[in-house]
Every structure is written in C-alpha cells, then in structure tokens.
C-alpha cells in the first residue's frame, strides 16, 4: 500500500506530532503507528542516539576521541533503517548511521573505539555475528558499489535477504552510486538505497548537488521505484523501509528512498557551519526535529508519559557512562598490529618491516633523543 503516486514526501505526523489529514486514526495511519512496542523502542533508540551524539561531541572536545560526525536531527532515519532491517539482512552504512549501528546491536564502546582512531571499532559487527554488516565507509558513495555486490551475492546464493545501503545528498552525485543504481536495475537486485538528504554536503547546499527537484528521481535513470519520505517522521520512514526491504527479500527488486532531513549540527566536530549557513535556517529546521514529534505522538497515544521519560533518560545516561568507561579501559594495540591483518598469508619478504616497526617504537617510546 505504499503511495508511489505521491507528490512530495510521505508524511503522517505534523511537526507537533498531530496526525495529518484528521480522518479516523486507523484509516489515516499505517499499522506500525498502532504498534506500541515498536514506537516506544524506536523512541528509546532515537533518544539514545541523540545522547550518544552529544556525548561523542563532548569527548572529541576533550580529546578523548577524534573527529566525529554527529547525526543530530537525523535520528529517525538511522533508527528506522536499523529497525526495518532483519537480523539476516545486510546493512551497508556510510558514516552518519550511529543510530542504525546501535539498533543492529553494536556496542557503544566499539563505536567510540572507531571514532577514537582504533581499527578494532569495526572488528565486532552487529549483534548477529553471522551477519556481515559493513563497517563505516569514508570514501563517499563507494559503499553503494559494495551494496550491489552483496545483493547480487545474496541472489546468487538464493538467500531471501536484502541489503540496505545509506548515503548522503552529496554522495548521490558520485558515479559509484549512479552506476550501482544502474546495476541494481539491470540485475534486479535485492537492495534498498536510503538517501539521507540533510540538505548539506559539508558547505555545499543541496541545490548545487543537482538541478533536479528530488534526489529520489535519480532512480528513474534505472527505472527503479523511488519515493521521498519525511525524514523526521519515523512512522512514514519505518513503513516505507520495511515494505521496501520486504519487496527486495521477495525478489521484487531494488528501491530508492530519499529521506528529507536536516543536518542540525556541524558537518563534523572539525567543521564550523556558521561560516556558510544562517542560524535562522537552523532554527527553523529545529521545529521539525524527529524526536519531539514521535514523543508527542506516543504521549497522545498513551504509550508514554513523564515518568517513563524520566526513567529512560537516567537509564541512557548510565548506559553511556558505562560505555565511555569501557571504551577508556581498552588499551591501544601493539605497534606491530598494523601488520597483523594486512595479508592472511604472510609474505616472508615483509618480516624485516615488522622488525623495523618494533625498533622504531622502542627508539621513540620515551620521546627519544637525537
């Protein structure tokens, strides 16, 4: 029952959490809107994601982790992606999907480990260890090529599993994504692409990325079904993504979803967005932020109250504190670890470099002397 005829993004709730269109709830809203457990856990995950982002930014400021890209304002997208995925599906992220990682069961200390400059942050993967979720992908849009490769592996292996690949509005300009769409269409692959259109690619505004009114329509080039969704409306996102993944698993082919959102924070902790965008634009965007909207709705539905909110916030802070502590207790790897996973079958000719690495370490250990 997805609305492909739609003009503009699919949206069920107003910024204030009111049901749009006023008709009888059952009529207006999709099933998932009545699923208390689902919405409450979505709300928890989104709240945890925001708390984690806040904490991570603070940790960067104090030098405890490195450059960090907050997902502030985009929690509904990453959490909806995580929740729509089945354990046995494959998640192919970019680098602003902290919420998805959390829902997929990755530990916060491991996310911090990655952003703290330690490869082991990508060593643990999702809850379902059998599943091969991909690690953070830094080279923009390259993950899209991997996603179609994994999807075609699933097809060849006759597994009823789907791939969900995320990317940004800027990434939608890069050939890797556009070629991947073409292959997904030509080979009819079980892959869903989710474009987090947060309006900015660092300092480059959406209108410079493309002359097209929507980014979803890039899929028209490959005749792939596509639609825009309000990226601040969890209910709309979950409905669309769950159905898109179901289609894919059933062999009905790929789909592209453009989630319209806004990057409420700087691009990363290394960025100063005030150089290139007006505070007014940001202030307006805050009115649409996704967490408040879902909170008001579950309040109205009687799924949530002040007390629950209080408990939850305390609980999140405890979890966070424990995660930070766990992260800080993880000692750095040995210097020679840089060789441990380079090749599975070790080339003897590189032994002397491992030795040289050890010597270099000892030589410099205590600052060293000239």
């Amino acid at each position: 029952m997805m609305r492909h005829d739609l003009v503009g993004p699919l949206q069920y709730l107003s910024a204030e959490g009111e049901v749009l269109g006023q008709g009888k709830l059952a009529k207006e809203l999709p099933e998932c809107a009545a699923d208390e457990a689902l919405l409450v856990s979505a709300y928890r995950w989104m709240s945890l994601t925001r708390a984690f982002d806040q904490k991570a930014v603070a940790l960067q400021r104090t030098g405890i982790i490195g450059t960090y890209p907050s997902s502030l304002g985009q929690e509904a997208i990453s959490v909806a992606c995580g929740m729509a995925l089945a354990d046995h599906d494959c998640f192919v992220p970019y680098y602003r999907d902290h919420g998805s990682f959390l829902v997929r069961g990755q530990l916060m200390e491991h996310l911090l480990l990655y952003w703290g400059g330690d490869e082991r942050g990508s060593a643990y993967g999702p809850r379902d260890r059998s599943q091969l979720d991909m690690p953070v992908c830094v080279p923009i849009a390259t993950q899209a090529s991997h996603a179609v490769g994994i999807a075609s592996a699933f097809k060849i292996q006759q597994k009823k599993q789907a791939v969900l690949c995320t990317l940004g509005d800027g990434a939608s300009s890069k050939g890797d994504f556009l070629e991947a769409l073409n292959l997904a269409g030509s080979w009819h692959l079980p892959v869903v692409f989710v474009i987090n259109n947060n309006q900015w690619a660092i300092s480059v505004p959406r209108h410079i990325q493309s002359g097209a009114p929507s980014l979803a329509q890039k899929a028209n080039a490959a005749a792939i079904p596509n639609m825009q969704v309000d990226g601040n409306d969890f209910i709309a996102l979950y409905e669309v993504l769950a159905e898109a993944l179901q289609r894919a698993r059933k062999g009905k082919g790929p789909m592209v979803v453009e989630a319209i959102s806004y990057r409420l924070g700087d691009h990363t902790t290394a960025d100063d967005a005030s150089r290139y965008r007006d505070q007014e634009e940001v202030d307006n965007a805050w009115k649409n932020e996704p967490i408040k909207r879902l909170q008001k709705f579950i309040h109205q539905q009687g799924f949530w109250d002040k007390k629950a909110e209080g408990y939850m916030q305390d609980e999140l802070q405890t979890q966070l504190a424990q995660a930070v502590q766990a992260y800080q207790q993880i000692a750095a790897e040995q210097p020679e670890a840089m060789f441990d996973h380079l090749y599975e079958t070790w080339p003897a000719s590189m032994d002397d470099q491992v030795v040289a690495c050890g010597e270099r370490y000892l030589r410099n250990r205590d600052g060293g002397v000239l």
Partner: protein
C-alpha cells in the same frame, strides 16, 4: 558442482596457449568451488575479447559468469561486495588501459577490508586484466602500469609468463584469501603452446621462478619480456652464464631469491616494458643499492620502457624491448664491470 560438465578436462594433459591455460584454470575453479563467480564486460557469450572465458557462461550459467554493464568502477566495487559476502569473484577488466576506474575501490577497499575490520571481513577477489604492448592495438590497449598497484599496501600483483605459470598462478590467486591483481601478458596469449596437465595444482605466490641457472649475471624480468630473456640467455650461453629469474609476484617481491642470485653473480640486469620511473625495476635496483652493493661487480642496469606515452602502433616497436636490446644490455653490464 556440475561434474558432468563437457568443459571438464580434469587431469588430462593439454597442449595449450597461455590464454587457453587461463581458460582451463577458470573452468577448473568454477567446477571445483561453487563460490567462484566471474563478472566483466563481454565475458559471456563472446567469451571475452581474447576468448579467455570462452564457453564458461554456457557451462556455468549467467549467475556464475556475469556480463556487466559497461562500468569498471562497479565491476571492482561489486566484486568487493561479493567477496565480503562469501563468494570468490574473478572480475575481468577488458584491457589494463581501462583499469584506472577501479583504483579507488582497489586501493580504499579491496586492499583494506581485512585490516579495517581486523579480520572480521575479508576480500578474496581476483582482478584480471590483459596487459602490455606489442600486439598492434589501438591507443590505451598496451598499458603496463603494474607498479601503480604494487605501491599499494594490502594488494598482491601477480604476472605469469608461460601457460603453466598462468594456470598455476591463477589458481593460486583465486584460492588466495586476499585480493590479487592478475595481469596477463597478452602478447604471449597465443605465442606458444605447452603441455599442461589440468590437475588443479596451484603454484606458490610470493615466489620468484628461476628459469635458467647461471653464475655471471642475474637477469630479472616478468611478463612478456621473459620470452625475449629466455632466447637471449640461451643465445649468449657461450658468452656469458646468465641466471634468469621470473619475478612472477611483483608485489610482494621475493627478495630472498633475487638476493641470493645477485650475491652469486654480482651483476644484475632488470628488464621491464613499463615506464622506468618508480617501476618495479626501481624497487629491485633500490634493494640492491641498500643491501647488496658489496657483492656488486658491475652497476645495476635497468632496461625499461621510456617515461613517455607508448606510441601508437605504427611506431610502437621503437618503445618495445627486443632481444637485441637485452643482449646489448647484458654485454654492457659485463663491460661496465668494476
């Protein structure tokens, strides 16, 4: 596994060219391992523009031997995804001149997936491409840029120079749990025929092959130039005792074998078709400068392609390295002895 496959010529002996040996190895790999798949342009019905994949799609179907849209970036990137997902993809790039669009994926992902995830994920893929000049081909069809990939940590670069090594090294590359760039010297594709037993036996990677033993000069090469080196080694046998070594795996290089030979002969000539600057020859000569100078009875010599764009085929021969050039370089090296 289709054991009844007509293509199956298991354990039989064949008189094959290098390109037929590649075809045999691919067929063997597809037969013996269901996770092996192939993708590339024109590899299906057409069997590849050089027929390296002839008959394979017919035998194993489109789901094992996949014609792709014309998009090298995706050929490499999708292969990485397939490899991560438990397949052993063999991706074909039609000519090395068209391999450059794969560089971002090979450098940023294929070479790093295992290291990035500390072994949780890996990338057991092979990127095949015919390379080198001398076949009177159009612009961009004669590249030898193996050194670009050899510079990249995490990659292996393997180059056969005979049907037997094409067969054995390709099987080794396919079985290797990490990414391998496998470059096939197209000038040799149909140069000669050799007896070959399709026994599925892989040859070792990361190892040089000593093709001629000698004690006066170590002649080092790989790929198509090996054929000229063989002729010269034999033709000059009365004049000089040449030890001819086929590097085969040009990254990582088996320096142990090279070093022991150079220690013995005290002279070293490196021959490659690729441009000189920062080629594989530079790395080998640098190794000698660092570790073997006391053993050197003559300056190290590199006989290579020039640092210029390979001329179109009308003047291509002025760029290529001939037996005469190699013989001349051998004699010069002897003459220049300290």
């Amino acid at each position: 596994m289709k054991q009844d496959n007509e293509l199956s010529k298991l354990n039989q002996s064949h008189n094959v060219t290098l390109v037929e040996a590649v075809n045999l190895a691919l067929n063997r790999a597809l037969l013996s391992d269901d996770t092996v798949v192939m993708l590339g342009e024109d590899i299906g019905k057409n069997g590849g523009v050089f027929r390296a994949t002839d008959g394979l799609q017919k035998a194993f179907g489109f789901s094992r031997v996949m014609d792709t849209p014309l998009a090298e970036t995706t050929i490499a990137g999708a292969a990485i995804g397939m490899a991560v997902a438990g397949l052993k993809p063999i991706a074909e790039i039609q000519f090395m001149g068209f391999i450059y669009a794969t560089v971002e994926h090979m450098v940023c992902h294929a070479a790093r997936m295992r290291n990035r995830t500390r072994g949780r994920l890996s990338c057991p893929m092979v990127l095949r491409a015919p390379f080198g000049g001398g076949i009177h081909a159009p612009e961009h069809h004669s590249e030898s840029t193996e050194a670009m990939f050899a510079h990249i940590p995490g990659l292996r670069v393997v180059i056969p120079s005979s049907p037997a090594r094409a067969y054995g090294l390709l099987l080794a590359a396919i079985n290797n749990p990490d990414p391998v760039i496998f470059l096939e010297p197209k000038r040799l594709y149909r140069a000669q025929q050799y007896e070959l037993i399709d026994d599925g036996k892989a040859l070792p990677l990361d190892t040089c092959f000593t093709l001629r033993e000698g004690h006066e000069l170590t002649l080092i090469s790989w790929g198509a130039c090996i054929q000229e080196c063989l002729v010269v080694s034999d033709a000059l046998a009365a004049e000089v005792s040449i030890e001819l070594i086929d590097v085969a795996t040009v990254k990582p290089i088996d320096f142990a074998t090279l070093a022991s030979s150079i220690k013995k002969t005290g002279r070293c000539l490196i021959v490659h078709e690729a441009a000189k600057t920062c080629g594989i020859g530079a790395e080998i000569a640098a190794y000698v400068a660092e570790h073997l100078m006391p053993f050197c009875k003559a300056p190290v010599k590199r006989l290579t392609g020039f640092d210029t764009v390979m001329p179109y085929f009308r003047n291509e021969q002025h760029y290529m390295i001939s037996q005469v050039d190699i013989a001349d370089a051998v004699r010069k090296t002897l003459a220049d002895s300290f």
